[in-house]
């Protein structure tokens, strides 16, 4: 009953092959679409000849940008107040950009016919290096925008520049380090896709699509098609991994909708792996210059950072609208710093749009990487153990709630306890001794530590919205007469185990077994409104809504129980899952008994309606701030420079754990992500803007071979403002692990004088660093 370890309810269908994904949707008369994509990164379209494709016997229609322009649909809004081409009309701006859409009887014919389209391009020079995007001679990518003369997207800053510069000027020690958090990709196992079914008579659109945010998608589809929102139904069936990749809408979805409107038949479009890697929401791509100032004794005085943010060809980043650099301004991390300042400049490049995908909590992955790397660089400069430097500067429990120099209010924390626990689990002192003896033998072993503070659960409606939609989430509960429950939630699971976790929340609040709670999600027609799953917001926002709606049920049940037991509701108290008469605990009623009575022939007090159903919307008063301490041990082969992560200890504090097993699973996944980013993942481009990472042979993701046995631990510091004290866990490990691994690598390479290696730390990069510093 309630919180605790239990096996996931959804696993029965997944392990039996009964999961149902978008590509499993089969509708009568359904047609199939394929997208023709730009072969080059930057080119003017001179002509598009679709006549040969239309001659293909199985082709029903071919849609080009010009066709969409006639309907006013050639461009669509992005989540960052920019527009993105659905199908290119004037130019192509990244390799893999959508140019035409072919609709045929089957997927194979659509792809064959796609090759019959003849597009004439005038190839233009491409902007590939974001640090050169603002050069005066850089070609202007977004000449669709009137008056535009450069590739500048935005400038944004946080903190106090003057105070920070003063702190730097007065400091004993200042360390500066350039670093790149490279472009990575969520690469979910299931690629993106949609099935659109437009009913021409009723003017209703049903779309099954891979989405983490069905309700937000519905609003966008309404804006694009002009159909009223209540006649659009978005269904997100099982989703095979999202990691942020399935927050935005993609041109393929829109093409499927237009295709269905045009042909009067359902149209399915599912991208392949290369299309997913080349054209959908990437992550990171922050070129950062970090600076840190400290006293000789190691007291942190100031942190500053300048960032060039590569936003690709269209600014399609998914983040709260007032935060163009996401929550990057939490870059002061877990430390008591007197002054801080950051400046972020966003630029357009000839690369795929996106930017905030991949489990980063709106750029906190970048922020944590920055601060944890510069702290390690500073420790090197001071000749101080990086753990000692951290312990000296971590926020102390009595400082919470803590208002950071950039305006964040951290809710609760006990950082030193978590760090000491991680050091204990790792056997830190012993590891240092082992390292010393290995160094004496010429072996390269490194120990890396990171401490991170996350900020998740966006967010308070007055501060955070997407496209003007406040980031709140609803929950609705229906209690059957037999006392079982259906909980409908606005967030969508992509594998996080919502059907179990949310059932446990209701179970805990109502004293009914989790098996008696079914969770309904992923369908705008059957779930209450809300903004969806990303930024680790399910538990902090929707989980709170689920707890609150269950409490509403409990409050109603009290009134009904009063009528049943013929006592005043105030004379009842909630004890172990039932309403009992104060002073006479034998006299009472469980939710199951009350549910039947609430629908039965009983006289309810004036104004009390039958049944126990309820609805709630949760507006979080603040974000929640999970944290953790990670210790990583690597061995670097002195001959091949191959990095092996030998051990990884992760102590996470995400407040109250609803299902510890699911929490640990999330941490295992995030740590694996971290190994991928630190060691192998990068969406790379050549100088012409050709994407060199469009397959899983080139974009490497970690497997069981590359990861160690994860050693996890926990501390529990509840969130004071969350109804059940939970903070969210989905992205903690992805955020916290890359710096621990890179810190360990740089520690291993200390004998070579290497202070920094950019991710991914492939053998060639590490080897170059070893040679370069000699």
């Amino acid at each position: 009953m309630g919180f605790g370890r239990m096996k996931r309810k959804e696993d029965a269908r997944f392990i039996r092959g009964q999961g149902r994904y978008v590509d499993d949707v089969q509708l009568p008369r359904m047609l199939h679409g394929a997208v023709l994509r730009a072969p080059v990164a930057h080119a003017r379209i001179l002509s598009i000849d679709v006549s040969a494709a239309l001659q293909h016997p199985k082709v029903h229609a071919v849609i080009t940008g010009a066709d969409l322009a006639e309907r006013g649909m050639a461009w669509m809004p992005t989540l960052s107040a920019d527009v993105q081409a659905v199908l290119a009309t004037d130019k192509v701006r990244f390799q893999g950009q959508e140019v035409a859409f072919v609709i045929a009887d089957d997927r194979y014919s659509a792809r064959d016919a796609r090759e019959l389209i003849d597009v004439e391009y005038d190839v233009l020079p491409a902007v590939v290096d974001s640090r050169r995007a603002l050069d005066p001679d850089a070609p202007v990518i977004r000449d669709d925008q009137a008056g535009r003369i450069d590739n500048h997207v935005f400038d944004w800053e946080a903190g106090d520049a003057a105070a920070t510069e003063a702190a730097f000027a007065a400091a004993d020690v200042v360390v500066e380090q350039d670093m790149l958090f490279p472009r990575s990709h969520p690469a979910p196992m299931e690629t993106c896709g949609a099935v659109a079914d437009f009913d021409r008579v009723g003017e209703r659109l049903t779309i099954w699509c891979t989405t983490q945010a069905p309700h937000a998608h519905r609003t966008l589809y309404s804006l694009i098609t002009g159909l009223p929102e209540h006649r659009i139904r978005v269904i997100s069936p099982d989703v095979g991994g999202g990691f942020g990749n399935k927050v935005p809408i993609y041109p393929g979805y829109v093409c499927a909708m237009v295709g269905s409107m045009l042909t009067g038949k359902p149209v399915k479009w599912v991208e392949d792996r290369s299309e997913n890697l080349m054209s959908t929401g990437f992550a990171r791509d922050y070129a950062m210059r970090g600076r840190i100032a400290a006293s000789r004794e190691g007291r942190l005085l100031a942190v500053a950072v300048d960032v060039i943010a590569d936003h690709g060809a269209f600014n399609a980043t998914a983040q709260p609208s007032r935060y163009p650099a996401g929550f990057f301004s939490v870059f002061t991390g877990s430390y008591d710093v007197a002054a801080a300042h950051c400046r972020v400049t966003g630029v357009y490049t000839n690369k795929a749009p996106g930017g905030v995908a991949y489990a980063c909590s709106f750029r906190i992955a970048e922020a944590v990487y920055l601060v944890e790397r510069v702290v390690d660089c500073l420790a090197r400069e001071l000749g101080m153990d990086p753990v000692e430097l951290r312990l000296k500067n971590l926020l102390r429990p009595e400082q919470f709630p803590y208002e950071s120099r950039t305006g964040w209010v951290y809710d609760s924390g006990d950082y030193e306890r978590a760090l000491r626990k991680a050091l204990g689990l790792a056997g830190y002192e012993e590891l240092r001794r082992e390292q010393a003896s290995k160094r004496a033998r010429g072996e390269l072993m490194g120990i890396g530590v990171s401490f991170f503070t996350e900020a998740v659960g966006a967010g308070p409606r007055r501060h955070m919205d997407m496209m003007g939609l406040g980031m709140n989430d609803g929950a609705a509960i229906r209690i059957s007469p037999s006392g079982t429950a259906q909980l409908a939630i606005s967030v969508q699971t992509q594998g996080q185990g919502h059907e179990t976790t949310f059932a446990q929340i209701v179970s805990e609040e109502l004293g009914i077994p989790p098996e008696d709670v079914d969770v309904v999600h992923g369908d705008t027609d059957t779930t209450p409104y809300g903004l969806g799953t990303y930024g680790s917001r399910s538990t902090p926002v929707s989980g709170a809504a689920a707890a609150l709606v269950a409490r509403k049920v409990r409050d109603r049940a009290r009134i009904v129980a009063g009528a049943m037991l013929e006592v005043a509701p105030e004379d009842l108290e909630w004890v172990r899952g039932r309403w009992a008469v104060k002073g006479d605990p034998e006299q009472g009623a469980s939710i199951r008994e009350i549910a039947l009575a609430a629908r039965g022939p009983i006289e309810l007090p004036e104004g009390v309606e039958a049944g126990l159903d309820a609805e709630a919307v949760y507006d979080p008063p603040n974000l929640t701030f999970p944290f953790g301490a990670y210790v990583c041990v690597v061995d670097v082969d002195p001959g091949t420079a191959h990095v092996k992560v030998r051990r990884f200890v992760a102590v996470d504090d995400c407040g109250v754990r609803i299902n510890p097993m699911i929490v640990e699973g999330q941490i295992h996944g995030g740590l694996t992500d971290g190994v991928g980013m630190a060691l192998m993942e990068q969406i790379a481009f050549d100088e012409d803007g050709n994407c060199l990472s469009a397959s899983l042979m080139d974009y490497l993701i970690p497997t069981a071979v590359e990861v160690p046995d994860w050693e996890t631990g926990e501390t529990v510091t509840p969130s004071p403002h969350h109804p059940i004290g939970a903070k969210g866990i989905g992205e903690s490990a992805t955020v916290g692990s890359p710096p621990a691994i890179v810190n360990a690598i740089c520690d291993a390479l200390e004998p070579f004088g290497v202070r920094h290696v950019d991710m991914p730390c492939t053998p060639s990069r590490v080897w170059e660093a070893m040679q370069g510093a000699r």
């Binding site: 023709l36 072969p39 080059v40 390799q95 796609r114 090759e115 389209i117 003849d118 597009v119 190839v123 290369s274 080349m278 050549d686 100088e687 012409d688 050709n690 994407c691 060199l692 990472s693 469009a694 397959s695 042979m697 080139d698």
Partner: protein, 142 residues
């Protein structure tokens, strides 16, 4: 940009080799999957080549043109400009022949764009390397 260097030997006199490499009708079919579509002039031909890259098979169509010719040094450059017929990419190359007695050297600098480039430089390099190696084998018998 991918740069490759190869050598070949024919065992025949330089003058013979010189005529052979400049005869587009003879040299283009020496490339595996290559054929002349139309000889536009002595120095220029429309041609196509079918290439297998990993699991992908692509047909490039374009022109081959003799753009440099230095009789004294026995050096000639053939310029290849082509486009995948499926519209998925471009392949351009400058192939420089320098002849000596009984054979010669080939320096290729190729620029591959689009989908084939996305297979990665390693794949592009190894496909081109295999293609040119095979080509040198056929040159030996020209």
């Amino acid at each position: 940009m991918v740069e490759l260097d190869h050598t070949f030997s024919t065992g025949k006199p330089t003058e013979y080799n010189w005529d052979a490499i400049l005869d587009l009708d003879r040299i283009i079919p020496c490339v595996e999957g290559g054929k002349v579509l139309e000889r536009e002039s002595p120095d220029r031909a429309k041609a196509e080549i079918k290439v297998k890259m990993g699991a992908m098979s692509m047909t490039f169509r374009g022109t081959v043109e003799v753009t440099e010719r230095d009789e004294d040094a026995h050096r000639a450059v053939l310029k290849v400009s082509s486009k995948d017929v499926g519209g998925q990419g471009y392949a351009n190359a400058d192939v420089a022949f320098t002849l000596s007695d009984g054979g010669g050297r080939i320096h290729t600098s190729a620029q591959v764009n689009g989908k084939p480039a996305s297979m990665g430089e390693g794949v592009v390099y190894s496909v081109l390397d295999a293609l040119i190696n095979d080509f040198t084998g056929k040159l030996a018998k020209i």
